[in-house]
């Protein structure tokens, strides 16, 4: 199995505060990995470093065996590392269509062109691709609504669709189902499961049910350290994990 991501002794310190401590792990192409851990465990910081939004204090990150530790975030995206954000982070003043257009025109390398207006007539293929995408993910009815006017749940969907539109090889989802109802959560999970097998997915999640049945592998972070790494079942039985989530007393009775 090809290794898509190789993380070696990754650490992040903010002054005296150690947010991520010495994490080493490999991810293979096509794996579906869940990342869990109590609040403050460093999960988003970890993601930020993989995406390139944050520089590590020490350690290295390799992507398809190329060292990307010093590569800027936009370049990583160009090469297939796409992330979503914990808080909806869209172009709120623009319509859904315009948000998606921005992703797709980049994918199609049409973004440098300045002499033609982005109308349907001038950019038929681009607009068709946008339409198809919006239809596929049931966002058609919101196409020309400004993102800021939409509900949280719909915005969250758009957040994920934007990432998918970027044709990711490695998809980093930061709590995609945060704040969603069961129905919405199921929709998101269906969305994710529709993705091709070659897409490697790493997902920060708090919802245990989402992880079980959808992820091949679960990684547990606590206080910046990697404390468990295995199948969902194995992790569920892990003593240390139980201790963290249930407290020392309860763990004895779990």
């Amino acid at each position: 199995m090809t290794t898509i991501l190789s993380i070696q002794h990754l650490s992040k310190h903010f002054g005296g505060l150690k947010v991520i401590e010495d994490i080493t792990l490999d991810v293979s192409v096509g794996e579906r990995v869940g990342l869990i851990g109590p609040n403050g465990a460093g999960k988003t910081t970890f993601f930020n470093m993989i995406a390139g939004d944050l520089n590590p204090t020490s350690g290295s990150i390799s992507y398809f065996e190329q060292d990307i530790t010093k590569v800027p975030n936009y370049k990583r995206t160009e090469n297939g590392i796409v992330r979503t954000f914990q808080k909806n982070n869209l172009m709120f003043g623009l319509t859904v269509r315009e948000n998606v257009l921005l992703v797709l025109q980049k994918m199609r390398n049409e973004h440098i062109q300045w002499w033609k207006k982005v109308t349907q007539r001038n950019y038929r293929a681009l607009h068709e691709e946008t339409e198809t995408l919006l239809q596929e993910w049931n966002l058609e009815m919101y196409s020309d609504t400004k993102v800021q006017e939409l509900s949280y749940g719909v915005q969250r969907q758009i957040e994920i669709v934007m990432a998918i539109a970027g044709k990711p090889k490695l998809l980093l989802l930061d709590e995609p189902t945060a704040g969603m109802s069961q129905v919405e959560t199921d929709q998101i999970i269906a969305l994710i499961n529709k993705l091709p097998k070659e897409v490697t997915i790493c997902m920060i999640e708090h919802d245990i049910d989402v992880l079980f049945g959808n992820m091949d592998r679960v990684i547990v972070l606590h206080s910046g350290k990697l404390i468990a790494d295995g199948t969902p079942e194995a992790v569920r039985e892990n003593e240390e994990v139980k201790e963290i989530y249930l407290g020392r007393e309860e763990a004895r009775y779990a």
Partner: protein
């Protein structure tokens, strides 16, 4: 689209016919409006479209004006050559200043553009041998069009400026709604997200700066032929403030807003000033009123009024633009206290 063409052509023909119906005094005012219209449009690309609020745009105006003036005096009066030289200097200056400034955000970006612009002002002011120092550059010969045809009177200058203005409006109209134009808007809306989508936002901010600076230089070049004279006061930071007012009062983020703003300021400075000395007070008051009650500028007011007629509204402008532009400032001032 058809309606836009009709309106545009009508306007164009009106402008062409104008010198036959109004006195030279008004023709000159029109020329000035067109020139500062280009100047304001250029700043709008930076401020209204990309969200980079700059207080240093006078530097490019000055660079274009002085370079063109000097070229006309010492090199050749060919209008194309001299204007290209003016735009070239503005372009080079924009590479330099842009490279340095776009690394900063919000308040720091504002201050850096101000500092760089004042350096340009200082160089112009103190390099007396070349620029004439505080006396300015005078005796600039009239430009020549094709060999012998000299744009010797104000009406010729007016027509030439009108043609240049029309080309600029055409080009910028397309730019603002092109894929690249949308990249700029995306950066204004949410630069971090644009980076996560894969855009090298630094590069695009520099591109925006380059376009804005070069067009600002074009305005300066046209100005020096129109005015026959340029002085350091035309490069002082208050000129940067003035053009910013034009953009904001006219309506940032729109195509015609900046032009309307330019018209507003020019009319106040020329026509109103013959009735009262206190035209700056009027501008100041209007600016305050617009900032509080109509942040989308005149264009915003107009579009609110005639939304059904103006079908094509490229970038709806609202208070959000102002808030978004200052988010980095807020963040920075939160960090710095």
């Amino acid at each position: 689209m058809g309606k836009q063409w009709v309106k545009g052509s009508l306007l164009f023909f009106l402008m062409v016919a104008a010198p036959f119906f109004v006195s030279l005094y008004y023709v000159n005012i029109f020329t000035e409006i067109l020139i500062f219209g280009i100047f304001a449009i250029s700043l709008n690309i930076l401020v209204g479209q990309t969200g980079l609020v700059s207080l240093g745009h006078a530097a490019f105006f000055g660079a274009g004006a002085y370079a063109t003036g000097l070229a006309a005096t010492h090199l050749s009066t060919n209008v194309f050559l001299t204007i290209v030289i003016g735009m070239l200097l503005a372009f080079l200056l924009a590479i330099l200043i842009g490279f340095v400034s776009t690394k900063a955000h919000g308040f720091y970006f504002l201050m850096l553009t101000l500092a760089c612009s004042q350096m340009v002002y200082s160089i112009i002011y103190q390099w007396t041998d070349v620029t004439g120092g505080s006396n300015g550059l005078s005796g600039i010969p009239a430009p020549s069009l094709f060999g012998d045809f000299i744009l010797s009177n104000q009406v010729f200058i007016y027509y030439f400026t009108l043609v240049v203005f029309t080309i600029v409006i055409f080009a910028v109209n397309r730019l603002l709604q092109s894929p690249l134009g949308y990249v700029f808007i995306g950066i204004k809306e949410n630069e971090d997200r644009m980076k996560s989508i894969g855009y090298n936002t630094s590069l695009y901010k520099n591109i925006s700066f380059l376009i804005a600076g070069t067009l600002g230089g074009l305005a300066g070049s046209l100005y020096v032929f129109f005015n026959g004279f340029v002085a350091p006061t035309d490069v002082y930071w208050t000129v940067s403030g003035s053009v910013l007012i034009m953009v904001l009062v006219g309506g940032a983020g729109t195509l015609w807003g900046p032009v309307i703003g330019a018209a507003f300021i020019v009319v106040l400075e020329t026509i109103i000033s013959s009735y009262t000395e206190s035209w700056m007070m009027i501008i100041g008051t209007a600016f305050i009123l617009f900032t509080i009650f109509a942040p989308a500028g005149i264009a915003g007011l107009f579009s609110r009024l005639t939304r059904s007629i103006f079908k094509e509204k490229p970038h709806p402008v609202e208070k959000q633009y102002i808030e978004d532009a200052i988010k980095p400032m807020k963040r920075q001032s939160k960090i710095n206290g």
